[in-house]
Subunit: 248 residues, 2 copies
DNA sequence: TAGTGGTCTAGACCACAGG
DNA sequence: CTGTGGTCTAGACCACTAT
């Protein structure tokens, strides 16, 4: 009735991390040493540590060894998007927030024309084969990729506008959309939790065992027409999503 | 410059799932067959499939084989909590929502006195060693565990109240709290994303590769005093979190 | 260059549930 | 009973990077 050896190894270090015997940044013994200590083959040790890597508790830094993972959360507030701003802001909201903490924000921006597909078609009330403008950005803090923000617009709305240019827009796309006559008055936020795709792992430099939150932000005009759908991919080890509610 | 064999195997089936060649519920070839097809050892096949299990794309059902995972999301609306309800509701909100879709909701309830600890202490503005009442529930749909809802209260507020009894409360703890003079007027929702603890895996019957969203709901009275902090653990493969915003 | 983790093999035995 | 996945071993070679 005993647990398999690799699970005992995992449980041992999971416990040491939970109780603080091992703290973030601390190094674990090498696979070789653990094989000796537990009297098992190295592959068995690897299976055990693999469990903890999958749980996001430790990371392998070759050829240094295994380390207890350190995490730092930035606050992510979807509601900020619908709060008033100065008419001519110096920076977009993300840059503002990061710069306020003394760090350096930056972007990579890319604009593409794509087929809507099922997810976007449903939210923007288009045909799945309709063309949408995808404004794809990766946001960086101090050069480290932090999250993905892909905004999508029906092409009829934004043709020939600034939104089509892969350049930084200090006042934000929402403002541009409003100037085009599509001011948003209502939005729906949907959050899914899943493991990242290989593409997301690549774009965000994610380690194994890092789940992501996918935040769909669909904006509607006063007449109820959806004009914008943003897909934000937030690595779980870097974000804390915050909402605020008031009773009515 | 070729990818390792186990990654090619993972990529092969990841692709077939993404493109719909393999659909949810479909079975994969056996480890033995794949070892033959790819000309590698069975352990190598296991490493490849292990990647996909970790990504939550497939599940192993011994001794049947590997299957493409099926997922179904229930809608989770934190904002509902601050919407008005009938004075004497027949069921709590969760049961109402589930029963409305023709399924059967149920609960397991357990009440414990615990030390607050760092997370709760910070949110309830207590000392980490202070005692709080933990009302721990697992919510089931058709007998399947669906999510965890652990509500916490400073003991001074709820001593001798119904909240201390491990019994179903149709009108909900928020109402009881209001009757005790601690009506909530404001709440903060925080959402974290991470891999589940072994305890959560056990309580929720989670498969490998299933991340969870942890939703902290902290409620405040009109005077700004925190009176309640609920920790909801939502398996990523079963939930879609939805908020709604209106421009002000 | 030494030592780390990353990959792979070719066996083996086991527990479990379906036919 | 048969075949599945689950676990384990004792080797081997490789790629990478800190020193």
């Amino acid at each position: 009735m005993e647990a398999p050896a690799y699970q005992r190894i995992a449980a041992t270090f999971r416990g040491r991390i939970a109780t603080g015997v091992l703290r973030p940044g601390d190094q674990l013994p090498t696979e070789h040493d653990l094989a000796d200590q537990f009297g098992v083959a190295r592959q068995t040790v690897r299976a055990g540590l693999g469990v903890l890597v999958g749980e996001g508790l430790i990371v392998a830094r070759r050829p240094r060894g295994y380390f207890v993972r350190e995490r730092e959360h930035m606050v992510y507030r979807p509601q900020e998007k619908s709060r008033p701003r100065p008419a001519v802001p110096e920076m977009d909201r993300f840059s503002e927030q990061i710069a306020a903490t003394g760090r350096t924000p930056s972007y990579s921006i890319e604009v593409a024309l794509i087929e809507a597909g099922a997810d976007l078609a449903e939210r923007l009330r288009l045909d799945p084969s309709a063309t949408v403008v995808a404004r794809r950005r990766v946001r960086y803090i101090n050069g480290e990729p932090t999250n993905i923000n892909d905004s999508h617009f029906p092409i009829d709305l934004v043709r020939d506008s600034e939104i089509m240019l892969p350049a930084y827009l200090a006042r934000g796309t929402d403002r541009v959309l409003a100037e085009l006559g599509y001011a948003q008055h209502r939005a729906i936020d949907e959050i899914f939790v899943r493991m990242p795709t290989p593409d997301e792992v690549h774009r965000l430099g994610l380690g194994p065992g890092t789940p992501v939150a996918v935040h769909f932000d669909t904006g509607y005009t006063e007449s109820g027409r959806p004009v914008q759908c943003a897909v934000n991919v937030l690595p779980g080890d870097r974000h804390r999503i915050v909402f605020e509610r008031h009773w009515s």
